[in-house]
Amino acid sequence: MRSRPRDPRLTPRRKAFVKMRRPTQPFSSDKCATQAIAAEHGLTSEEYERLLKVLGRVPNMTELGIISVLWSEHCSYKSSKRWLKSLPNQAPWVLCGPGENAGVIDIGDEQVAIFKMESHNHPSYIEPYQGAATGVGGILRDVLAMGARPVANLNALRFGNPKNPRTRYLLAKVVAGIGDYGNCVGVPTVGGEINFHSTYNENILVNTMTVGVAARDRIFSSKAEGVGNPVVYVGAKTGRDGVHGATMASAEFNAETVDKRPTVQVGDPFTKKRLIEACLELMATDVIVAVQDMGAAGLTSSSFEMASKGGLGIDIDLDQVPQRTTGLTAYELMLSETQERMLIVLQLGQETRARSIFEKWEIDFSVIGHLTESNRMILRQGSQVVADLPIDSLVHATPEYHREWYKSKSDIIFRSEEVPHRPWRDSLRILISCPDIASKRWVYEQYDYMVMGDTIQQPGGNAAVVRVHGTRKGLAMTTDCTPRYCAGDARTGGAQAVAEAWRNLTAVGATPLAITDNLNFGNPEKADVMGQFREAIEGIREACQALNFPVVSGNVSFYNETSGRHIIPTPTIGGVGLMVDTARMATIGFKSSQEAILLIGDPIGGRGGWLGRSLYMREVLGREDGAPPEVNLYNERRNGDFIRGLIQDGLIVTCHDVSDGGLLVTLAEMAMSSGIGLIVSLDSSQAYFQPMHAWLFGEDQGRYVITVAEVLVDSILREAAGRGVPVRRIGTTGGDILRIEGTGDIGISVAELKFLSESWLPVYMAGGAEVAGQRS
């Protein structure tokens, strides 16, 4: 390959020259892309025809590569856009909703929180360590591109059945990848969730979320402005890694999937750390016009998107792109997904000032092009123009599908009286040590959750809480989804995920502000999957509206499907809330003995409990059926607002929401967190407690457990009654045993519960024993 003399500054004179010799017709020796080649790139024949029409000619290989990723499901949201539009994204505190790199919410004092969640499912299955690591790297970059210093990472992980031979390996590698990356960049990994189910055996889900903080007047956009302004590439040198990552994420897996390992990107957290510091240093100056991270489809997506948003053209000299190896083709340079890279539009003339910052951090800095009036993307390599694409026309021609869908039949609702019961202690032992509930300490101890010195609620509680540095404020954050419920009814499941996120933030005392959604589904070309997607969106929409909890960013991951079998719907919700005064905060552990235990919220129907799709059904009885518990959003809000008021008024400091495993598991977790036992006052002669196993293990929504000093009980009951909030005294803390009154047995010691909870995962990871529970 011949190389041209390098002039990184691209002077105005040179640009004039460049303009003059711009050809208008096909060029370059690159071979033309036929329909057969387009099909290999994931374009349908219809899409190929559409492309020919827009271009008025046959594209060359580089152009085809670019368009195929721009039009891929992963980048274009062509199947989901129609439905995503229905999600609420407005509130007085929302400063930037979906459409930018991440959502922005106002947290007062001229500060904002910026956050997003994204999937890295397909790469993480093929190469779990790098796949998960670059998942973290990618989401950090999105938040950084908006101008925020990342302050916390979370992750929502779903693995296959623990008995599946590959699960242990995938879990170990994913956790190591997330840990090594986050630990090195020095951003605490503060929370998340892990589920196991055979539906994920060949399609694990790795959803990563980053929360950042920025000054309100320092938010950056990806909209390119100012003809002639230089386009600057900063970060790692480009290699061949990740070419076609976006296309891979837009197709089902099959037997040859492992051959796609070379399409997985490789992370370099040390470079990322320097890139973060250098970008933030540059962002503190006034020389930036626009910023975009190079994520999926790397240089293609970033440059195209920036120019498109600004209604401008972009002229790029590929010889100026820092390259890790020789002989990279234009096609590879444009499609590489090499990590740790950003694209920045600077004000003309500020290149030297910007360059000095990146030189200090020893990060490559190269002016690779400039903005033009033409509204075309022109790529040059050597002495040739290797691509010439009309930007607006291609954006407008992006396919958007109204895919067929049908609503699956919902599972039947059954009476909990019909569900067999087992001795309560046996059931509790099974539940507390089952994979979905057992302690995840083995995982989070590999994450530095304390670096940056502001983590005031660590993993293991309702939600993580990170102080806004140098203030009394805190950000509460959580990720939630209960795929079991989504499998029973996607609409209820979607609403429940939002409600649970809202509840978790409430339970620490934060005011829930907004969510990011990460929607993981199967192949959208199948009507049943599309139906699940539509239903889940409906549920999310209803809950967001009722709880005033808008969606500010998100990501859709389709094609989580192998050999025709798709995952159960998994719309993961990442929620963020604000705590004005972190001195007013609740945690789950009992604080002392002889405190009254109160349950806020009634079971559906006012007695017993809802066992459909519960963990009791799955883990104790080995059944996965029934409709999931209904989500009553009116009750949810009423109960949550009441709880939050108590915490913010400083009346309570102990609170836990009732979720997986039901009330007794909630109580057990509160006991294990503190070492203090309890006695549950249960009068089985009262209809309210009947049937008892449903009352103990039902997963009815919108409920919390709090503890208060005896002297406060009456006033809280009165206050609750005044607001129509159902509250019941259900026990007293004390001792070191969990007992239930009237059962005639000795209960279970908190020490035994702790042992059961803490030992499952380490034993499993050590390769030990047959795995208990999990019959699916």
Binding site: D180, C184, G453
Partner: protein, 230 residues
């Protein structure tokens, strides 16, 4: 007298330790870029913070030990300038030869982030005088290579000179393999130089110097240096 916190590319506890130092002293420390070749005038304590200097490439601390500023720190430490190395800072101080021993990968071969108990083995230093001998304190660890090793001769010298600063232990102060998170020889969590003007430790006292972070057991370390040196 001033405190300087060294910042390498990849340091990530530099701000955390600066906050803890400021909390104890009321003075904002100087942040000292690795490429500097001189210490500013009036620096009375150098802190080498935690993190992943140079991405831990080659070996944790190995590349940072060759950074320009380390030459100056090495020279000044020889003249008695106090130096504190925390976590990656401890690894760097052993790599540069200011402290004996090496830090190997944890026995579990995994990164470990958790709260542990450590026993103060000597309160006779400018870093530990606010503690009492054999006091048990709770501090967090967060490292992949904290497994302290030293050969038999070196170990004997450490004991003879009473250079062990902290040992991992149980809540009651007894040492046992159960309380040792990373496989360190004789449960060693931190060591002094022979003149006790240099301390390296794997636990993070700066993460436990603010009650809202769960405790203040690390604060006396910063109070000690502030009282002794500033």
């Amino acid at each position: 007298m001033k405190v300087a916190v060294v910042v390498f590319p990849g340091s990530n506890c530099d701000r955390d330790v600066a906050v803890a130092l400021e909390r104890s002293s009321g003075l904002r420390p100087l942040m000292l870029w690795h490429a500097e070749t001189d210490l500013p005038a009036g620096v009375g304590l150098v802190v080498v913070p935690g993190g992943f200097s140079y991405g831990d490439y080659l070996r944790a601390g190995a590349m940072a030990a060759r950074a320009p500023i380390m030459r100056e720190i090495l020279a000044r430490a020889g003249e008695g300038l106090p130096v504190l190395g925390i976590c990656n800072g401890f690894q760097i101080l052993t790599e540069v030869g200011l402290l004996p021993g090496v830090l190997m990968s944890n026995a579990t071969l995994r990164f470990i982030c958790k709260d542990v108990f450590v026993r103060v083995e000597s309160s006779d230093s400018c870093f530990t005088e606010r503690y009492t001998d054999k006091q048990v304190i709770g501090l967090p660890i967060a490292h992949h290579a904290g497994n302290y090793f030293i050969d038999d001769d070196g170990y004997q010298r450490l004991l003879d000179n009473e250079q062990v600063a902290f040992r991992y232990c149980g809540s009651d102060g007894t040492t046992s393999p159960l309380g040792n998170p990373n496989g360190s020889r004789d449960h060693i969590a931190g060591v002094f130089s022979r003149d006790r003007r240099i301390l390296g430790l794997m636990p993070h006292p700066e993460r436990q110097a603010d009650p809202q972070l769960g405790g203040s057991d690390g604060k006396p370390l910063f109070d000690s240096v502030v009282e002794a040196l500033l």
